[in-house]
Amino acid sequence: MAPPTLTEPAGAPTEDRVADVVIEVVDLSKRYSSAVLAVDSLNFQVRRGQICGLLGPNGAGKTTALRMLLGLVRPTSGDARVLGTSMRAGSPTLLRIGSMIEHASFVPYLSGMRNLRVYWEAVGGSHLSDANLEAALAVAGLGDAVHRKVKTYSQGMRQRLGVARALLGKPEVLVLDEPTNGLDPGEMREIRDLLLRLQNQGVTALLSSHLLSEVEQVCTHAVVMDRGRLVAAGSVADLIQSSSSAYIEVDDAARARALLEALPGVKSVRAEGAGLEVSLDGTARSALVTALVQAGLAVDTVTSRHRLEDAFLGLVNEGGD
């Protein structure tokens, strides 16, 4: 089965598109025991320069999928390819990948700098002086604290050092699991800006996150998983468009709610602030307005509500039905 493609550049020759695929997951499955199928026949591709969000509720199999991409976990079946190489433990392709899986972890009694050195120089012929150290330290933003023992760091400092570690090798591909976990809003924004800068330099990134607003702001594409399976894949814009809802303010919310719930093409209505959040199933918002006006209700506000969160919840709930 051909893996779903997140983008299909119009008119691009097939060979170019194949060469452009940086991450390719083909029928990938991981079974931990007879009762636990963490990843089930997963298929998707990420092309060069994309920032792809890997979304899913807890237990969806996101981290297991990322671990298989880095050779940390052996697939039960299928293939996880990065830059054309089937990933296995110790694969030379790992030199071209920067990664951070789950929370950033270090040797606690070593300083941040010493941790970077031990990590980097464990591979023969690698010297920290040849790495992208200055830029990585700028990302970490630890100042003199980089010489302190890591066990004295806050969660945010560790996380920033983890991202810095992932950038040491000037990677072509970034695989990040919850990269903004533990960061304050300012630091989260710095990471978002960093990812956008890296994208402009041609870096491809696959990142998992629970923060859908963050994914919406930084990712060009997204893969949605639920219970180990692929639910949807596409550009973030396309995913958002797949969900449609409207926010309406009227003079009598109770009457309007009863009326709207009875309309065909309306999936649900719920109160939100001073108005109503209406989830639509193919019905145009104008049809709602017409029905409300015909019922003698004064409509103050009608706005569309296209958010990744709506799309995500819709996709996951559909998958669960």
Binding site: V73, A89, I97, I101, S105, F106, Y119, A122, S126
Partner: protein, 280 residues
Amino acid sequence: MLATFRMEMVKHVLRPRTYVVLGITIVVPLIIAFALKVNPPDFPSPEGGGGHFGGGGGGDLSYFATQTGLFLPVFALEVMSGFLLVVIAALFGGDAVSSEASWGNLRAILTRPIGRGRLLGAKLASALLFTFIATLLVSVVGLTAGGATFGWHALSVPILGIQQSVGHVIGNLALATVYVFWDLAAVVALGFMVSTMTDSVAGAIFAPIGFYFVTRILDNIEAIGKIRYVFPTHYYDAWTNLFIGGSTNDMHTGWLIQIPYVLVFCAFGWFWFRRKDILS
């Protein structure tokens, strides 16, 4: 392999625990020297069998240590190899993989293009090296403290038929140090094997300690029969024969009996770790 080994050594060298452990191997021989100087033992009675040399005429290592400082490291090795050095070996072996797994740092290391076999080899080599250093320190510090406290003389105890020159004792001490280390290698290897299978540092350390003491206890039960002869601990103290003019046949067997234990434990750890999913 060398780069990975070097980084493993850096982790050991910069770890405060390493200095606590090695400090113990320095302090205990010093305490022994001080205690023997302050409170020297009596000449061992042949009937009392006091000490390890009972079979060799009822001698006592602690008494010999007061006759020449050359025997202080021998006594220190005898005292420490029964428990402290076993714990230290278990610590270095059992902690090797499990500590990094418990910190979560193992997954970071393995996202570098480092073969798992290479990483294991580097960790095992560094654990063995520090176990050897610990054993060596007991001998070297014991020899130094013994010389400073009691002087270095040839040992002559005619009533027990023991006559050993300085060179003879030092040569035998070197052999004994290597033999004790080789005995401990099986403890390191078992800890190492368990370390690849669990993220529990305590579990990986206590497993080889438990194994060592259980086999020591079973080895004392003669009713178990000849199977005791293949226990890794059966020939554990055979090195003491070097100092009483006894047969070294048990030592030769002891060398050999450790080989399959070390190889099997290491091979199983390697086999397990190569296939292990890194989930921690």
